[in-house]
């Protein structure tokens, strides 16, 4: 496939990616754009750490600092972590369940382009009068008062990309329910598929409250509504509730797929079936369920009263139980296993203590009474970076190394991978371990500078040095990616040699139809079962026949572009109305034109039949020799 791609012109490849509905190509799009936003968010983090390296620093201004910390959080959560997880979900989940594509290939593409245009819109704020500056939580009293268009960029950008996320969530749910290969029962699904399933359900039920919250803020800021305007009867606590009803499940949306990646990696490189598979599945579902019951632990100091605080404190602590089940199952999977310390396995092993540390501080923060002391201090910053980096980012880096051969057909250099790992791990603990103590010593979060001689200097300097270690680690990874792709040494079906699940039974990268014949799944870790019986391939579940494929489409791109254009109109009509209709007269037409583009392309999609096409049996037979190399 890729040799064919290289022979085609750049424009042809570009057009292919703009119109693709292939889950494997969409995965690459997610990986590239998520990776780009990860670098942007990382750069913002570096600016924050440089500013705080020494007391009373003037590297950035106070206003810019607020923008940096807001955009760092927003970018990392919405535009880096989630899309990168979607990259692996797209690349791997259909293969793991033995499907030829996702349930809705068109919507898959639409979800990506909505995310992409939303992310671009949000980041354009840097060049168009200033970025949002009310924190990634954007609490209403602050964000309503924020001058300029920063918050408008936040609201509209997240609204657009959030719609894409919701679509992706529904798509994975239907894919996993309806598209499993013969024999792939629920209790035979790999853990990454299970965690994708649960995370998608969380997306489905957690994103609508965010949508509503963003709409309320959009109406307040752009159309004169009064939801959060106390003098008009409004109530800012509504935003806090809606945001955290979304925001808490959101952290499980991020961490559960990472758990899934680690489960697969640990079982692969321990050469053992995952210990306590059923308990792992149950724990995943339980975490997803409890994740909706704990949002008010972000609001202990809001003043909901001791009863509410107590209930939410207990519910929060309860999540430690299924999480503990998982930790022990990972440990027991390794116990007695034949462990190979590849790069992905190193990340998995380092993840366990790092995440436990974040979990322990989580239980500390869950004690409502004690939280009054920790609240809004660097202790909280340390806690959530321990779970997000120690859990999600380590999972993403592990997944990058683990699934790279399946996505691109080349193997990332293991030595460089281990260099990245050690630099990143040391840098991560160096940056955030000391922040626990900074917080306990009373350093508040989201401050621009601190005074010298308060005992905060040393730890802040250590923290900044740690951040540089992480930055260098990422640069090594980028270098690794470049040389790997330049060398372009192709690998076979199962480059790690110990693959257990279906994705390792087909070529790397897989042909565009994935499975020539759908595989017959005979148990958990289906490829491993075949290997143990001396076969190298899956037993087919069907005779060779025609394969139905979806057509490429440019409509998702246009649909998302329309909303992107409309967002500018919605934003600048504020200025148009404030200027009494004198300036920005183009704003309302732009809003209308943008919406017409989107609605029009929806109508085209509805009116034009799209039956897809068939790959005929004969072509598939010709393809046999071009399949995978062993």
């Amino acid at each position: 496939m890729s040799t064919v791609a290289q022979k085609r012109g750049f424009l042809a490849v570009l057009w292919d990616y703009l119109t693709t509905v292939d889950h494997k190509k969409i995965a690459i799009l997610y990986l590239i754009s998520g990776g780009f936003f990860f670098l942007v968010g990382g750069l913002e983090a570096m600016f924050i750490r440089i500013q705080l390296a020494v007391p009373d620093n003037d590297f950035v201004s106070a206003g810019l600092y607020n923008e940096l910390l807001t955009m760092h959080g927003t970018t990392m959560i919405f535009l880096a972590a989630m899309p990168l997880l979607f990259a692996f979900m797209n690349a791997v989940v259909p293969l793991q369940i033995g499907a030829r594509d996702v349930a809705f290939p068109f919507l898959n593409s639409l979800g990506f382009w909505l995310f992409f245009f939303g992310g671009v819109f949000l980041n354009l704020s840097w060049f168009m009068g200033g970025a949002p500056d009310a924190g990634w939580t954007s609490y209403a009293s602050l964000s309503i008062a924020s001058p300029g268009h920063g918050i408008d960029f936040y609201v509209l950008g997240l609204q657009i990309s959030g719609a894409g996320t919701l679509i992706a969530g529904i798509n994975f749910l239907v894919t996993i329910i309806n598209m499993r290969a013969p024999g792939m029962t629920y209790m035979r699904m790999p853990l990454f598929t299970w965690s994708t399933f649960v995370a998608s359900a969380l997306i489905l039920f957690a994103f609508p409250p965010l949508t509503v919250g963003l709409f309320l803020m959009l109406f307040d800021r752009m159309f004169g509504a009064n939801f959060f305007n106390v003098s008009m009867g409004g109530n800012t606590i509504i935003w806090e509730h809606l945001f955290w009803i979304f925001g808490h499940p959101e952290v499980y949306i991020l961490i559960l797929p990472a758990f899934g990646i680690f489960s697969d990696i640990i079982s692969t490189f321990s050469k053992k079936r995952l210990f306590g598979y059923a308990a792992m599945v149950f724990a995943t579902v339980l975490i997803g369920f409890l994740g909706f019951m704990v949002w008010a632990h972000h609001m202990f100091t809001t003043g909901l009263g001791p009863t509410a605080n107590a209930i939410f404190a207990v519910a929060t602590m309860a999540i430690a139980v299924p999480t503990g089940v998982k930790i022990f199952n990972w440990l027991l999977t390794m116990w007695g296993g034949s462990i190979r310390f590849t790069t992905p396995m190193l990340y998995a092993v380092a993840f366990i203590p790092s995440f436990v540390a974040g979990g322990v501080t989580g239980v500390m923060l869950a004690s409502a009474a004690a939280d009054y002391q920790y609240h809004d201090s660097y202790f909280v910053v340390a806690h959530f970076h321990y779970v997000i980096i120690g859990g999600v980012v380590l999972g993403l880096l592990a997944g990058t190394h683990f699934y790279w051969p399946k996505m691109f057909g080349t193997m990332l250099n293991e030595t460089l991978g281990k260099v990245t790992f050690w630099l990143f791990l040391i840098g991560f603990h160096g940056t955030f371990f000391v922040q626990h103590f900074l917080g306990l010593m009373g350093m508040p979060r989201r401050i621009w500078k601190y005074l010298p001689g308060q005992g905060l200097d040393l730890f802040n300097m250590i923290s900044t040095i740690g951040a540089f270690f992480m930055a260098i680690a990422v640069l090594v990874l980028l270098y690794n990616i470049v040389i790997t792709q330049v060398k372009n040494v192709r690998v076979g079906n199962d480059p790690w040699g110990d693959g257990r699940t279906l994705e390792w039974a087909i070529p790397s990268p897989p042909p565009y139809y994935n499975f020539k014949q759908l595989p017959l799944v005979r148990g958990l870790d289906p490829l491993w079962i075949e290997k143990m019986e001396g076969r190298t391939e899956m037993t087919p579940a069907e005779p060779l026949g025609d394969i139905h494929m979806p057509n490429n489409s440019f409509i998702p791109f246009v649909m998302s572009l329309g909303l992107f254009i409309a967002a500018f109109g919605a934003m600048y009509q504020i200025d148009w109305r404030e200027s009494g209709g004198e300036e920005f007269v183009w704003s309302l037409p732009v809003l209308i034109i943008g919406m017409l583009i989107t609605l029009g392309s929806m109508a085209v999609r509805s009116l034009k039949d799209d039956h897809g096409y068939h790959i005929h049996k004969e072509e598939l037979m010709d393809d046999t020799d071009k399949g995978g190399k062993e």
């Binding site: 749910l173 709409f215 109406f219 307040d220 509504a225 305007n229 509805s606 009116l607």
Partner: protein, 210 residues
């Protein structure tokens, strides 16, 4: 599944045409899940409305009990509930491969929905004009028009959807490609109806008793 445009008769037409093809099955399930998300969306809007109900800046603003009148809302409720019933008849005929009757009942559904929408526009006009109750006059106003307006926007989308489907398929009859489309559109319409039942209860009935 091989030929989406295959012609059927009422004898060969499958029992659940909306779920016969894999595409149809996916659409069916995906749309149910989407409605699950929509339920949370409206739940959030209801919660916001309940928090801000009658929350006005000064005592010269009208409150829910001063404005709402049951006769108007009763007519609207009847129109929308009936439109749900007519869409059930349409789907009954769809499943029996009786295309003309399905078209007729769907057209009736659209007319009833449009009538509902007309009353809703009048209702909003009435509140704005006679009570000075606007989107920007108070938090109560913002919450009221957002909740009921979101529902109204759903009605507009539903009507547009039905009309588009009826126009597109006016001459080509039922097949396994368009049957799931009609089916999910009618699911959407039922959902709109269910939301209205809650609006009727929470906004209007509870508004009347204070």
């Amino acid at each position: 599944m091989d030929d989406m445009n295959q012609k059927f008769t009422s004898r060969t037409w499958p029992e659940s045409p909306e779920k016969t093809t894999l595409e149809g099955k996916n659409k069916f399930l995906g749309f149910w899940l989407f409605l699950g998300g929509e339920t949370v969306l409206f739940a959030s809007l209801f919660a916001t409305y309940l928090a801000l109900k009658d929350s006005v800046p000064s005592s010269d603003h009208y409150l829910a009990a001063d404005m709402f009148a049951l006769p108007l809302v009763f007519i609207m409720t009847m129109l929308l509930l009936t439109s749900s019933l007519t869409s059930v008849y349409a789907m009954y005929h769809m499943k029996n491969h009786n295309y003309q009757k399905m078209q007729t009942w769907l057209l009736l559904t659209v007319l009833l929905g449009a009538a509902f929408l007309g009353f809703e526009i009048y209702e909003f006009y009435h509140y704005v004009h006679d009570y000075n109750h606007t989107f920007t006059s108070s938090a109560f106003g913002s919450a009221f028009y957002t909740l009921v307006g979101f529902h109204g926007a759903h009605v507009v989308v539903g009507l547009g959807w039905f009309i588009l489907l009826l126009v597109r398929n006016a001459k080509r009859g039922l097949n396994l490609y368009n049957a799931p489309k009609f089916f999910v559109a009618s699911l959407y319409w039922h959902f709109i109806d269910v939301v209205w039942v809650f609006i009727f209860t929470v906004v209007y009935l509870m508004g009347m008793v204070g």
